[in-house]
Symmetry: C2
Subunit: 123 residues, 2 copies
């Protein structure tokens, strides 16, 4: 029986935009990711995705507007909505999304990680 | 398009053990709750429940052991496992659980809140 500290876990993350799965709750994964720069435009056609900013600030760009998130802010990107997260400085986020979600959604980019690549290495 | 700050939201919570829904991701609710004292023994027969400690410390008691969580710690109580959270001092947690979950699980106590009682009042 073991808890996972999301803040400490961030020290294990060496790569930006590369989520790590910290737990499964029913049919959803909770992931942590360290972000810096800009991701890619994508959508998850059938799946909502929640962002919770643990450290730093994050902007999520949409086609006609954008939203700025800071520490403690939560935001749900509703299914089907095309979006592209970006941040000038490093930030740490928790993500909640279905186990079936591909983090780059309907596109494949050099940033795309498989679920296997998102598994936590046991320490 | 609006984000919800989980840390600021805690200032609206006047009652312990009374979760507020901050968002829905697919078939799960994200809730925030301020806790102090001891809750009640219960289980969710078919539903996992994730705790994420945002502030303070929380102990989750199980029938034969307990786990201590501190800020940033996440822990999934697996479906069917009888548990009872407690904390000597006030703590703030995020909860992720199916929209169908009753927060007191299979028991009804004076602490039991309906989903309607868990809705955020618009400010």
């Amino acid at each position: 029986m073991k808890s996972i500290n999301l803040l400490e876990l961030s020290q294990q993350l060496t790569e930006y935009w590369s989520p790590r799965i910290v737990g499964r709750v029913n049919d959803q994964f909770i992931k942590v990711a360290k972000l810096k720069g800009e991701f890619c435009w994508h959508a998850h056609e059938l799946e909502d995705e929640m962002f919770l900013v643990l450290k730093g600030e994050l902007t999520i760009q949409f086609e006609h507007e954008e939203i700025h998130l800071r520490e403690g802010d939560s935001f749900v990107v509703v299914r089907g909505v095309r979006h592209n997260p970006k941040c000038e400085n490093e930030c740490l986020v928790a993500l909640i999304e279905p186990v079936s979600t591909k983090h780059t959604g309907d596109v494949t980019t050099p940033l795309t990680k498989s679920i296997e690549q998102q598994l936590l290495k046991s320490s």
